[in-house]
């Protein structure tokens, strides 16, 4: 019995000493690693200022802050209206169109634009001539460095029905009998967004997957080759499983962002003629919030989107865990 007690006291003493030394180590680390600390705290500050502080504004979704001049006055002194702004949004004639556009456009983007960089990275990886590979990579990256305003302006000028080169070529080559209004015609708008997004983002988006591919052990490829696997089989059974964690992570992020649109991308091509196919939640928030001054209404739309996006993230994470055993949390 006494032996037990002695052993226990000894163990407790060791534990206490370890705790003390851990605390000392932490304190020492904080003193020595001030550069790291600064970087971390700047990041925390950034998140606090730009991500958490604005959360205070959510109140506006439940107050009467439409067409007010001073937003802070509306937040602090505006009348509570409960769910009125949400009800207005759901009853709005635009609601169905906007949801359809948001989900449809982003859903298609996820189906087409999400796997495209993966595929492109796999193809690049299979290229043997180094010079050609680098040239292809550089060309594919270039559009990323143009802003959407510039890039969109170039595309708009090229496809304009009356002044664009593309339509002139199409008509003169006899492919179409009359110019095609690619920007204005509703049936082409989603295609325009997807194609321009691909052109601009496929090269840049493939970088992360190329990095992941380079991390796959060469031994695995050699082993597969010895086992008689051809190139396609090596891609399917070595490369793809090797980059699966990265793909899953980005897929989850994409799912949570399915209601997020690249506002500047859509705005640059948005005209009155394509509004019924180009108006998505984010452009609606911008239009009602900043342009029309309907702050409460816009906040309610934004909050509605955030809640759904949050739910989607949780669901997709669960699904991924179930299917692949991997998730982001």
């Amino acid at each position: 019995m006494t032996e037990h007690i002695e052993i226990r006291e000894q163990e407790e003493g060791v534990q206490a000493r370890e705790n003390l030394s851990q605390k000392r180590r932490r304190r020492k680390m904080r003193k020595n690693d001030w550069e790291l600390q600064t970087m971390v705290w700047l990041g925390v500050l950034f998140v606090a200022v730009f991500c958490y502080a604005p959360l205070f504004g959510i109140i506006l979704a439940f107050k009467d802050g439409n067409n007010v001049l001073n937003i802070m006055n509306a937040i602090l002194y505006g009348d509570w209206v409960g769910w009125e702004n949400f009800r207005s949004f759901l009853a709005d004639g635009e609601f169905i169109d906007v949801m359809l556009n948001t989900l449809g456009l982003n859903g298609l983007m996820m189906l087409i634009n999400f796997p495209a960089p993966v595929l492109f990275a796999l193809l690049l990886n299979e290229l043997k001539p180094v010079r050609f590979k680098r040239t292809a990579q550089t060309i594919s990256y270039l559009p990323h460095f143009l802003s959407w305003v510039v890039f969109g302006g170039i595309i708009s000028a090229l496809v304009n029905t009356d002044t664009g080169v593309l339509n002139a070529l199409l008509v003169q080559s006899g492919l179409v009998s009359a110019p095609v209004d690619i920007i204005g015609d509703l049936k082409y708008f989603w295609g325009l967004i997807i194609v321009t997004s691909l052109i601009k983002g496929i090269g840049w988006g493939s970088i992360i997957y190329l990095a992941a591919i380079s991390g796959v052990s060469k031994d695995l490829y050699e082993a597969a080759e010895i086992d008689g696997a051809n190139r396609l089989q090596r891609v399917l059974h070595v490369t793809l499983p090797g980059i699966a964690p990265s793909v899953v992570t980005f897929f989850l992020l994409s799912v949570s962002g399915i209601l997020n649109s690249t506002v500047e991308h859509i705005l640059v091509f948005q005209t009155q003629t394509n509004l019924s196919r180009s108006q998505v939640i984010d452009t609606m928030v911008l239009q009602y919030g900043l342009n029309h001054g309907m702050y409460s209404y816009a906040t309610a739309i934004g909050l509605f989107k955030s809640v759904i996006a949050c739910g989607l993230l949780v669901m997709s994470n669960l699904l991924c865990k179930k299917l692949t055993g991997k998730g982001v949390y």
Partner: protein, 581 residues
């Protein structure tokens, strides 16, 4: 760590709550400067130099500062002021909204007079009443603000801003004919080719115009020469001006047969304009509906459009480029009538105003700024900013001071360069065209300038004042706020459906748009306007305001050289009597 992060977040939330937090209903504080006597022009009492920041909520305003040009220097000599201007990139009011909510409004703002913001800014204490400022520090300005303008823009008992492009009755006689605001112009050589064809139809009819467009395209379109049969203006969040202009050609009324207000968009004539455009669209005769103003300008510059249905004054550089280009493309006005053969009833250039300039509560020296307003609004200020310096660039042509002419120096500099240093016609935020335009000298006009000035003048025979169709609204009531909000929502729906009315099934899209607008309060808007319209007519002592319904209305006939009217009806290209030169 967790505790520290939680504390930080709490602090941020608290800070966010306090940032920009000002109590509602801020009250204006008038600075304690002595009143200015009324015995002389108020700006002559300015004895110090100062700078003001002036925000113009319109992207096409590109003038930046008065510091760099000769007229700006002269303004400084007279008033001591240097004005720095800023303007937004887009006309969506985002900048203005951010400045208001962030309490960063500059000394002076110029906002579109027909929007809700000016009244809201006035009623919530963001801007000084200019009449009150004038009473204290610029009494001579009170005499310069014409009663009809003061009455139209007053909110409650005060006037909070001064408009530009407002045509006061002081300067505009009811008998005067001003050119129309929008116009249908046609490329002259192609038009003459069509009308010279033995089987040409009457181009002033819908069918005739369509036939002309079809045949001109077939005749002149080549791989190197594109033909845009009819060019429409840009579709924006405020609708489309081309459709408005065409509806005026088709005489869409703003009053019914009983003298009650109607929104011309909901008339048979407007619908006829829509169906006609839809028919042209179906035949591939319209320009792209998604063209922006740059693309539209390019088409005009290249002379590719056969018929343009735009607001010509917005594209003067493009019409000039086409005219001065290698093909010397010239456009002339054209009349087209509705199925009933009614005469066009075109809205003339005279209007209630466009930009309203207001002095904000952030202005530290409203006592000085109001004196600058007084100067710029005066006839002296108008002459300086538009014609330049007396006896330097212009001089009086008669002793009664009713006409002016350019000086030799002006003419020389215009031909050889140097005129750009003056900054003429740039400082137009308080522009009074009703005073300036009739005075504008025509000596030394170059051929292309005369051409531009005359582009649509022959259509003056068909243009009339539309001011009664914009009744004064009582902006102090709660109902006004809900009505203008509903109106803005309705306009958003209307502008969204407008292209579809042309490219799709017109009737379906038109009815759907109206149904959606009704859900957004259209009926309340129309009822409010109808009441204001009736009140306006009562105040003016007018029984019928729709032009053809007036007793004195007669179908336009050509005018003789002495100004008298002949018996000959005005032809397809208007009345040449109104041409300058």
């Amino acid at each position: 760590m967790k505790r520290a992060a939680a504390l930080l977040i709490a602090c941020m939330l608290g800070l966010a709550a306090l940032c920009g937090c000002t109590p509602p209903g801020s009250t204006l504080v008038y600075p304690d400067y002595p009143n200015t006597p009324a015995d002389n022009d108020s700006w002559t009492y300015i004895d110090e130099e100062f700078t003001i920041d002036w925000y113009v909520d319109y992207s096409w305003f590109t003038y930046q500062s008065t510091a760099a040009d000769i007229i700006g220097q002269r303004v400084k000599e007279l008033t001591g002021v240097t004005i720095n201007f800023t303007s937004p990139v887009q006309n969506d009011s985002t900048n203005l909204n951010l400045m208001i909510s962030g309490d960063t409004l500059p000394d002076v703002i110029s906002v579109r007079a027909y929007q809700q913001r000016p009244a809201q800014l006035a009623l919530e204490g963001y801007v000084y009443p200019v009449d009150e400022l004038a009473r204290r520090w610029a009494p001579t300005l009170l005499d310069r603000i014409e009663p009809d303008i003061a009455d139209y823009y007053s909110i409650g008992d005060h006037l909070y801003g001064l408009p530009n492009c407002a045509y006061s009755e002081k300067y505009v006689d009811k008998a005067d004919k001003w050119e129309p605001n929008g116009a249908m112009l046609v490329r002259k050589d192609w038009y003459e080719w069509y009308t010279s064809q033995p089987d040409a139809m009457d181009i002033t009819t819908k069918a005739g115009l369509k036939d002309a467009m079809t045949r001109v395209r077939a005749q002149f379109q080549t791989p190197s020469q594109r033909v845009v049969p009819m060019l429409l203006d840009e579709f924006t969040g405020e609708g489309n001006q081309s459709i408005t202009w065409l509806s005026q050609y088709f005489a869409a009324p703003f009053e019914d047969e009983n003298g009650n207000y109607v929104d011309s968009r909901f008339t048979d004539q407007y619908f006829e304009a829509l169906t006609y455009l839809s028919e042209l669209y179906g035949a591939g005769l319209l320009s792209g509906l998604s063209n922006d103003s740059d693309a539209i300008g390019q088409i005009i510059s290249r002379g590719e459009a056969f018929v343009t249905l735009v607001t010509p004054q917005n594209y003067t550089t493009n019409f000039t480029a086409a005219y001065r280009g290698s093909h010397n493309v010239e456009y002339i006005p054209l009349i087209v009538r509705n199925d009933a053969g009614d005469d066009p009833i075109l809205q003339d250039m005279t209007g209630r105003g466009w930009l309203l300039s207001m002095i904000t509560k952030n202005c530290e020296r409203p006592d000085l700024v109001i004196k600058v307003f007084d100067f710029l609004y005066s006839e002296e200020g108008q002459r300086l900013t538009n014609f330049g310096i007396e006896n330097d660039t212009w001089r009086w042509a008669d002793e009664e001071h009713t006409a002016i002419e350019w000086t030799d120096k002006y003419v020389t500099q215009k031909l050889n360069g140097g005129l750009e240093n003056y900054g003429l016609e740039q400082l137009n935020v308080l522009y009074n065209p009703a005073y300036v335009v009739p005075l504008m000298p025509v000596n030394a006009l170059q051929d292309y300038e005369l051409y531009i000035k005359n582009l649509k003048r022959p259509l003056s025979a068909f243009s009339y004042r539309y001011t009664m169709s914009w009744p004064k609204l009582d902006k102090t009531t709660d109902e006004y706020t809900s009505v203008v909000n509903a109106e803005a929502n309705c306009l958003a729906v209307w502008s969204e459906y407008l292209p579809d009315m042309i490219s799709g099934d017109t009737r379906t899209q038109y009815d759907t748009a109206i149904a959606q607008m009704q859900r957004r309060g259209l009926d309340n808007v129309l009822a409010y306007y109808a009441q204001a319209y009736a009140d306006g007519k009562t105040a003016a002592g007018v029984e019928r305001a729709w032009i053809p319904a007036a007793e004195e209305y007669v179908s336009p006939t050509l005018r003789n050289e002495d100004g008298s009217y002949s018996d000959t009806p005005v032809g397809a290209n208007g009345d040449p009597y109104y041409l300058l030169g």
